[in-house]
């Protein structure tokens, strides 16, 4: 089964929100109005809301219509590149973070790959167990990790691409960083594994309750605004 890449260069959200969702189960309020919370979410799952995608010419209108059909209101999985380049540990050139340049050409409608024109950051992750909450990442090209950076690992097989972000980062020197991560590792890593920092991505589905927001409503049959609500998918 081919997973297609969400048309990240055509349907650009003005206000994206990507986060790890781990809802709390709230207990009853106590006498002094505090409320205890517990969670059964086990580290949470990745969610993304791409709001305010402006469709201003025929091409994005077609792409949005095609994808609203392709994703079938949350039945079909796809690979969603996350807009995280601004906070990525980009290498410095001339005292400022490098610019990514033009994205690699590809199919704007149903592509199968996502990458920058030329890879900017190179990193590897060391061996770790399933559901590990921390990861040792070696940056061989890029700047230091500080915490809060999104990255992806391709776990292969049915699990595929999964997105994580760093939490607390410890600098071990020589470009090696021990990073807390959320969500927890979806599959064990058995050897040095490439860490995707250029275009972090995740296998996701539309939120079925909000799938309708991707279907364009066009003013004067020309322009409109759509939104895509994604939830990490676990069809494996």
């Amino acid at each position: 089964l081919t997973l297609y890449v969400w048309p990240w260069r055509t349907l650009v959200p003005a206000t994206p929100r990507v986060w790890v969702d781990a809802p709390a189960n709230l207990g009853p309020k106590s006498l002094d109005d505090t409320q205890q919370a517990s969670t059964t979410a086990g580290g949470g799952r990745v969610r993304a809301v791409f709001a305010d995608i402006y469709l201003l010419d025929p091409n994005p209108v077609r792409v949005a219509t095609a994808w609203a059909g392709h994703l079938d209101a949350g039945v079909t999985e796809c690979i969603v590149p996350l807009p995280a380049l601004y906070t990525a540990p980009r290498p410095y050139a001339g005292g400022r973070p490098m610019s990514p340049g033009t994205p690699a050409p590809g199919d704007d409608y149903f592509g199968e790959a996502a990458s920058l024109g030329s890879p900017m950051m190179v990193a590897t992750a060391a061996t770790a167990a399933l559901r590990a909450a921390s990861l040792t990442i070696t940056i061989s090209r890029g700047s230091r990790l500080r915490g809060g950076e999104w990255f992806s690992l391709d776990h292969g097989g049915a699990i595929g691409w999964r997105a994580y972000h760093t939490t607390r980062v410890t600098d071990d020197g020589d470009g090696v960083f021990t990073c807390g991560i959320r969500p927890l590792l979806r599959a064990a890593i058995t050897g040095p594994k490439a860490v995707e920092l250029d275009v972090p991505r995740c296998v996701m589905k539309l939120d079925p309750a909000k799938a309708d927001e991707l279907r364009p409503e066009l003013a004067l049959a020309r322009e409109g605004v759509v939104a895509a609500h994604f939830i990490e998918s676990f069809d494996y």
Partner: protein
């Protein structure tokens, strides 16, 4: 009932607690689900004979009567499995018999701040899965797994439909319900035909 001890007990006492709920139905194949997302590798214990992978699939709905279960006064509990994920739905649709009247367990694991297990799995409840049925109302479609306690002996009566399709499933080749569809349309049936 075993109790949590040490770090796990301290964690519960602190109030803000992370834990996982695990459901195991010893059907064919064994159905393993847990409350969080992604895979969970359960180490072998007296319930799991070997290390086993628990699946999430976002499938495990609320467990409404866990408190009653702990107190032991519930005869059966119903676990809604939301999401109607393809894997789960396939299991229930293709062969519900494989999951009915099987020993089932509900377990709890207390996690630390990094969601790593602090305790062994505390298997709270032993039951028999006595029914699997679908409840569908638009966007709230669910499959419900009913678990009855082994002690109560009270199991849920099976929903019966006297349609030909249902009868063929119960007893292949039996033609007794062959003409029931015509009753619904108000046709007077001449016997024998």
């Amino acid at each position: 009932m075993a109790a949590f001890a040490g770090d796990a007990a301290a964690r519960i006492a602190s109030g803000g607690c992370s834990y996982g709920i695990f459901v195991r139905v010893a059907g064919t194949p064994v159905l393993r689900m847990w409350s969080g997302p992604g895979d969970y590798l359960m180490p072998a214990d007296d319930v799991e004979p070997a290390d086993a992978l628990y699946k999430a699939n976002g499938a495990l709905g609320e467990i409404p009567t866990l408190k009653q279960l702990i107190n032991g006064d519930a005869d059966s509990i119903k676990i809604p499995l939301s999401g109607l994920d393809a894997t789960i739905k396939g299991l229930f649709d293709s062969d519900p018999e494989a999951l009915v009247f099987k020993p089932s367990r509900i377990g709890v694991v207390i996690f630390d701040g990094d969601h790593q297990p602090l305790s062994e799995t505390l298997w709270l409840h032993a039951a028999l899965s006595d029914d699997v049925y679908a409840v569908g109302d638009g966007d709230g479609a669910q499959i419900v797994l009913s678990l009855a306690t082994a002690l109560s002996g009270r199991t849920r009566s099976e929903q019966a439909f006297y349609s030909d399709a249902a009868q063929q499933r119960r007893s292949p080749g039996d033609r007794i319900c062959e003409r029931t569809a015509r009753y619904a349309r108000g046709i007077t049936i001449a016997w024998p035909v």
